[in-house]
Point group: C2
Chain length 256, copies 2
């Protein structure tokens, strides 16, 4: 395998791509990792780091939005609209954000994240499951960044979502064990909690969704097992670009 420097990124002219080896063909692919963990030495931190390393090694350009380090604002408020609102008498966040997107008057941090998403071929979300969902700081990223006009319109959602052509993948850790997250387990099949995130957020915006990477209960795993979780993620990433997306419809989640 070619070992490519991570920054600046190795650029491959697309015309010659087919004759190059696998790793070089991936050069030029852009990946955004939206990462939500407070502790760099956590398993989530290791999973983020190994993804960065492996994808850089492939020649991809990798950008990380480290939400806690950025102190990312999760609240969707009037402050997201720079200047006057279209209706100063009655604040409707969705309407105002749509309008501000068109006028390029959204808050700087939102526009920065939108640029990263726009440039990415693949967006990886790396987070610990909080209450069957993403931590609030990452929910805020979704609420604020994926606004109407940028990520979708009405019409212009699901298979017509504006982020179509891009891939997305949820990489997460859980507190509960794999047994708890089965159809007959107390927490139900893990696919049940993925529905709002993979279908309601990612598919809605047009993303093709790759199979989730779920590491169950790392806190009660041995050091050896945790190393295995990191290694198996790195291994998967070696061929991530050859993967077929899941069929993001109810049968994948709930069976027939």
């Amino acid at each position: 395998m070619l070992l490519l420097p991570c920054t600046p990124c190795f650029e491959v002219p697309s015309a010659v791509t087919p004759r190059w080896p696998y790793s070089a063909r991936l050069a030029g692919k852009k990946v955004l990792i939206v990462y939500a963990h407070q502790e760099p030495r956590s398993l989530n931190g290791s999973l983020k780091k190994v993804a960065e390393d492996e994808l850089c090694r492939q020649g991809c350009t990798v950008t990380v939005s480290d939400l806690y380090a950025m102190d990312f604002e999760p609240r969707a408020t009037r402050k997201d609209i720079i200047g006057a609102c279209s209706n100063p008498e009655f604040f409707n966040y969705g309407v105002e954000a749509f309008d501000a997107y068109k006028k390029r008057s959204l808050a700087r941090d939102i526009m920065d994240e939108q640029k990263k998403v726009q440039e990415a071929n693949l967006v990886i979300f790396q987070f610990p499951l909080y209450w069957f969902s993403v931590p609030a700081i990452l929910k805020g990223w979704m609420d604020r960044v994926l606004c109407q006009g940028f990520a979708f319109d009405i019409p212009g959602f699901y298979d017509s979502g504006f982020l179509k052509g891009k891939l997305a993948l949820l990489s997460l850790t859980t507190g509960g064990t794999a047994e708890m997250y089965t159809k007959s387990g107390v927490s139900g099949d893990f696919r049940y909690f993925l529905w709002p995130l993979q279908h309601g957020v990612l598919h809605f915006c047009g993303f093709k969704v790759l199979a989730p990477q779920i590491n169950f209960a790392p806190e009660i795993a041995s050091e050896e097992e945790r190393k295995g979780m990191v290694a198996s993620w790195a291994q998967r990433l070696k061929t991530i670009w050859t993967e077929e997306p899941i069929n993001c419809t109810p049968p994948w989640y709930f069976g027939q």
Copy 2:
């Protein structure tokens, strides 16, 4: 119906309760409304207000946590732990929050919310659906307030959750229409997105869950229809204390 002043609340000695009329029997019941909308004149604002009015009229004590007005912090960070961490070398939010809860050294705003939950017989969450879930500011309330030790322990969850004996109810508005949120609609049955919230959060903490109050697509409804939504919520609240909770298990959400 007795018209009771809202503050201070009408207190009924429990010993005499059975002989009193319905509205007076409810006096002494405590309700917490956790409210997440930026605009007081929104439909969510009206639904919150009518609930406050109706429940006060019944003689209940009603407390409102108006999250945007409070500028409620959604991020789960080191700042939530006052003083030293149990492990200063490696920050694990769940572990530290559990420890701080036991030592009464959680951030003031978390302890304030926990006190409100502890005192409540019923918690109503009033919010617009953002991405098949709660807005980040409300997700942050769940992430930070419902910590281990306060809302659950391991073991001590689902039917043994520490908030057992309390009722909870999601009252929400959607952007999509009722037709979109059906089994064959593009967004799937509305019960699918309720699973993480009602089962993964509320049931996990021991709450008995009352049927959700869902107002579909108020933004494309007429003024008359929106008034009907408010009136029907007020009407339902008149007999809310006689309602049976849902059976919060997979069949309710996904069928057999």
